[in-house]
Amino acid sequence: MAAVATETPFHVLAVDDSLPDRKLIERLLKTSSFQVTTVDSGSKALQFLGLHDEHSPVPVHTDQLDVAVNLIITDYCMPGMTGYDLLKKIKESSSLRDIPVVIMSSENIPSRINRCLEEGADEFFLKPVRLSDMNKLKPHILKSRCRENYHQEQHQQSDSNSDECSNPTNTSSSSDSSSNRKRKAADNEEILPQTNRSRHS
């Protein structure tokens, strides 16, 4: 494995309102040596991730999560909060936006896929998800760890340059958030020019 040495398996949070599908994704992930938590809705996912709802905004930092989540995989079509809505909320959160998100859908709709990728999804799986799809998950987890390390280094180096530094984990203003998101998208383009496009080519 890469530079990250870890004894504990990566932890994936899987979100799907369909019970048979949850069973399947759980088994696929466990077979691929992930630790898995499954929930049946976007709001339960946010609860698990430590994000409070809009009515009781409480600043949350990653160290408030009981268990670190290394990747979130979510169905697109869910009642109430869709996978896309969940993706947006995750990317808007300073504590969660670095967690890679994978969207699953049974429908191959290019505009939907593009929308998700533009919002920051790292990968899009067509359902039914297969064992071979699980291979695509670890690279995203490792990439986000590299990016985390890079940002931490940046923060350390430019401690005195307050106008330059925009460490995503400490950012609170919305304008900084959007520039971080854009920079993140640019990073994605550089690092993985093909992966984000392959699904709908």
Binding site: D17, S18, P20, K23, P128
Partner: protein, 192 residues
């Protein structure tokens, strides 16, 4: 005929008659000694889920004014779970069903609901037989054949030969390639 052969013949028949597609093989691949009842569990969940959805569809289509968006949402759910377990015939009927929803045709929806019902119960019957053979086949390694006939509870580890694993060269992701190759001629493998 041994339980293993009965099961093999049943599954082969379900593939041959278009009830199942290769997604079911994906499920079989995911079953191993660490998850010996995986296929039974998913199949059972699918059967319960399908029955629930069909009930909801019947209620929605029974109303004087039909909410086609809600009908479509349920059909979409059933289509999704059928696709996930490899229930090809049910999935295809769901696809037709959604077209009638789009057209807001109550007649078309009612007729297709009947077809879904017939196809679903046909599949469910075979799945139930599958689960019964699977459980009676029991745990050859452990000793006693399992007597429970209901959905999988503590049915215990199954004889791995019942969902042939020896065709898979190794556990994990690499096994996928071998499994697909083996399934190019499924019947000859199953006869053993």
């Amino acid at each position: 005929m041994s339980a293993a052969n009965q099961l093999a013949a049943l599954i082969a028949n379900m593939f041959a008659t278009g009830l199942l597609d290769d997604q079911f093989q994906q499920l079989q691949m995911l079953q191993d000694p660490s998850a010996p009842n995986f296929v039974s569990e998913v199949v059972t969940l699918f059967c319960h889920d399908g029955e629930r959805i069909i009930g909801e569809l019947a209620k929605l289509l029974d109303k004087p004014t039909v909410d086609f968006d809600r009908v479509d949402a349920f059909v979409h759910q059933l289509k999704g779970s059928s696709a996930s377990v490899g229930a090809l015939k049910v999935k295809n009927t769901c696809i037709q069903f959604r077209e009638f929803c789009q057209q807001k045709s109550k007649d078309g929806c009612l007729k297709t609901l009947e077809t879904v019902r017939i196809n679903f119960y046909e599949l469910r019957g075979k799945f139930q037989t599958m689960l019964q053979i699977f459980q009676v086949g029991g745990d050859v390694r452990g000793g006693h054949p399992q007597l429970a006939m209901g959905p999988v509870g503590d049915a215990g580890a199954s004889d791995p030969r019942l969902f042939p694993q020896e065709v898979i060269q190794s556990g994990g992701i690499d096994g996928a390639a071998c499994w697909d190759d083996a399934y190019s001629t499924p019947l000859s493998e199953w006869r053993n």
